[in-house]
């Protein structure tokens, strides 16, 4: 069996991510907006996996850190500069501080208590963003850019339209290369490559943590806290560190969402968003390196595809069938697509937890082993 060492894995990962606009072209997912989402939610899930996958602590509160990251980035855009660097730095720092506070309190308990506490904190942050913190979050309207924002670093510019986010002048939205290859119209934009590089960096950090003594301690927390404590290790600071690290990843993801589309509403902090990242990690394979990213792509891809399918499209699929069969099949399928995407998502959640607790990565491994065994049988080994 092929064994990937870490360097090779990282190399392949980097190559795939950088070549994504080309690779994804045949799937119809190769437009910048969606690819950025893949990368951003990939970062979110990779970070979440450091907490959930390694320590086993299930947090439902990470949407709060995503939202906080977005708000922090927005304020940098409004006050300081449209350059994304200060925005991203602040979103990571603020999300880190925020997760330190929430983590410190929530981690006084473990197991279910911990999950419920984080759930309560997420809901509280969401409600606060709507009510108490309106001066910071602009309540229900959401925080947006305005023409008269100070932006002290950017200097006085003739502003007749809202400025765009940029990296030292390279606008995130700008498509810098637009070639036609194999009949596909490819778009390479700065925004995706900023996200892609941060994704690769996140993946590398996660990989190092997995292989480090720190990561070993986190896995020990998951397996047997009693033994860990009687081995002279204080488990809580380790868990808190993992919590804060994953919170910072979430903050980075939130900041990146704001660089993609500079506006943020409180709904980004709703706990169901936190539930989605849990699903990404579980679906991909918790505790594996590549799983969370696969889960993120899987969900964001199908969300995108499924949400676009309407009844007309469904009828189109079955048009060659007799009318009654067309109608019957369309009636069966249409609840799951379009606006019904969440139904599919919920079912997916259940199916994965019930039948594939190891996620896609584990499923892939089993399939691989099964194929190999079948091969050997064929040649009579």
């Amino acid at each position: 069996m092929v064994r990937f060492n870490d360097k090779l894995t990282l190399l392949i990962f980097t190559a795939l991510v950088l070549a994504a606009p080309l690779i994804l072209a045949p799937t119809g997912a190769a437009y910048p907006d969606l690819m950025q989402r893949f990368a951003i939610y990939g970062i979110f899930a990779i970070g979440f996996n450091i907490l959930f996958g390694l320590t086993g602590y299930l947090s439902f509160g990470h949407a709060a850190f995503l939202g906080v990251g977005s708000y922090a980035a927005m304020w940098m855009f409004k006050l300081l500069s449209m350059n994304i660097i200060p925005a991203l730095i602040l979103s990571v720092i603020i999300a880190g501080l925020f997760s330190l506070v929430i983590g410190y309190i929530s981690l006084r308990r473990s197991g279910i208590y911990f999950s419920i506490l984080t759930l309560a904190f997420a809901e509280m942050s969401y409600k606060m963003a709507y009510s108490v913190l309106t001066p910071l979050t602009n309540g229900e309207t959401g925080l947006q850019l305005a023409l008269d924002d100070p932006r002290i670093l950017d200097g006085v510019q003739a502003q007749d339209s809202l400025p765009s986010t940029n990296l030292f002048g390279f606008e995130m939205k700008e498509v810098f290369w637009n070639p036609h290859i194999f009949g596909y119209d490819l778009q390479f934009n700065y925004g995706y490559y900023v996200c892609a590089i941060l994704l690769i960096l996140s993946f590398y950090i996660a990989m190092r943590i997995f292989r480090s003594p720190f990561g070993l301690m986190l896995r020990a927390v998951k397996t047997n806290q009693t033994r860990l404590n009687y081995t002279g290790i204080s488990s809580r600071p380790y868990t808190l560190a993992a919590f804060v690290i994953s919170g910072m990843f979430a903050g980075l993801a939130g900041g990146l969402l704001a660089t993609m589309d500079p506006s943020v509403g409180a709904e980004r902090m709703q706990w169901t968003v936190g539930g989605e990242v849990v699903l990404m990690v579980v679906l991909g394979g918790m505790g594996t390196l590549i799983g969370p990213f696969l889960g993120a792509i899987f969900i964001k891809y199908f969300e995108n595809i499924f949400s676009k399918i309407n009844e007309g499209v469904v009828h189109g699929w079955f048009a060659y069938l007799p009318d009654w069969a067309d109608n019957l099949l369309a009636a069966i399928v249409s609840p799951f697509v379009g606006k019904g995407w969440h139904l599919t998502l919920g079912l997916l959640f259940m199916i994965v937890v019930i039948f594939l607790p190891g996620g896609l990565v584990d499923g892939g491994r089993r399939l691989f082993r099964w194929v190999i065994r079948a091969d050997k049988k064929d040649i009579g080994v």
Partner: protein, 347 residues
């Protein structure tokens, strides 16, 4: 004084709902050791049983009245619900009492749903990690919510309360306040009494029947009870059905307080979890006490007087988050909640 009294009353109906849901959650925690994220969905399903029933009753026979024309000049159509057509004034009475009558349907349906849920899904998760239990029931909650949305749409649907309970009652007079100072909608009072009856019913059932005794013993120490040769699993299935019925009937009656909508289950779920944790995981009395406590607290925080006072000392309005703040403080001071026992759900 009367304002305070009014706020306590206002907190009662929300508190009742919290208490009823939290009671079921705690029962399931305590007996099965499972965290049921789909419990809020059961509340929601109950509410939509009432909606369904009212829709069924509204199915009408359409006849054309040849003598009258509508504003377009066509013969006027008269809609008469079939129940009225068949039963006359008794039919009218049935329609009027849609909500209470729905209870009769809701109880068996909810028990059935509960038993199916336990047998079909939850049972297979007893020996899986808590995270898996949370995830699979969370998925189930999403599915149930979305199915309801698919069928009934995403708008909230009103269900009318019986004519006799539509008005409000000047309760203040009973307690010696000025007439007109404490006015309380009748149906909310009904809801409160309903919850008191259900809660006492459940407690009496657990206290005075052999079945209840075994369940309580099982909550205290499942293994030992299992060793006594008592088929604890069967009883736990029934307990799950009962918890589902409690949540469902709470949902049916709640349709008279607020219009049901598909996401109400999730909204109540989060708060009910907070209630359970504040009350102390595994403590039935704690869940009920914390339910009412937090309901009333929420109502106080939204009181104009309190809002002004808070604004006066320079704080923004906190009525939205008061429950969470109090919950966090309580858990910091008493990590096991108000009435929690050591060792419950702590592994």
């Amino acid at each position: 004084m009367d304002a305070i009294f009014l706020q306590i009353l206002n907190g009662l109906d929300k508190g009742s709902a919290y208490a009823l849901i939290a009671l079921g959650l705690t029962l399931i925690f305590g007996t099965l050791g499972v965290v049921n994220f789909a419990h809020g969905a059961l509340f929601m399903v109950g509410a939509f049983i009432a909606v369904t029933f009212s829709k069924v009753l509204e199915i009408s026979k359409v006849t054309v009245d040849p003598d009258k024309v509508d504003f377009l000049g066509n013969p006027a159509k008269i809609k008469v619900p079939y129940v009225v057509d068949w039963f006359g004034s008794f039919g009218d009475w049935i329609i009027d009492y849609t909500i209470p009558i729905s209870l009769l349907f809701a109880i068996p349906v909810m028990i059935l749903i509960g038993v199916i849920m336990e047998r079909g899904l939850i049972r297979h998760f007893y020996h899986r990690p808590h995270a898996d239990q949370i995830l699979v029931t969370f998925g189930l909650a999403i599915v149930m919510g979305e199915l309801i949305k698919l069928w009934f749409g995403s708008e909230s649907i009103p269900v009318h309360v019986p004519e006799a309970y539509k008005s409000a009652l000047d309760i203040g007079v009973w307690f010696g306040f000025e007439p007109g100072s404490v006015i309380y909608p009748n149906w909310r009072l009904v809801y409160f009494f309903f919850s008191v009856i259900v809660l006492s019913g459940v407690f009496a059932f657990l206290r005075f029947t052999t079945f209840g005794m075994v369940v309580r013993a099982g909550m205290a120490d499942r293994e030992t009870v299992g060793l006594l040769g008592i088929n604890i699993n069967k009883r736990f299935t029934i307990m799950f059905g009962i918890a589902a019925a409690v949540a469902g009937t709470a949902g049916v009656m709640y349709t008279g307080v607020n219009k049901p909508v598909f996401h109400m289950g999730m909204d109540f779920l989060v708060l009910s979890f907070v209630v359970v944790v504040v009350g102390g995981m595994g403590s039935l009395r704690g869940a009920v006490a914390a339910g009412f406590l937090l309901g009333i607290l929420e109502s106080f925080a939204s009181m104009p007087l309190v809002k002004d006072a808070i604004a006066a000392i320079g704080l923004p309005s906190i009525d939205q988050i008061i429950i969470y703040l109090v919950a966090v403080v309580i858990l910091l001071v008493r990590p096991r909640g108000l009435m929690g026992k050591a060792g419950v759900m702590e592994d």
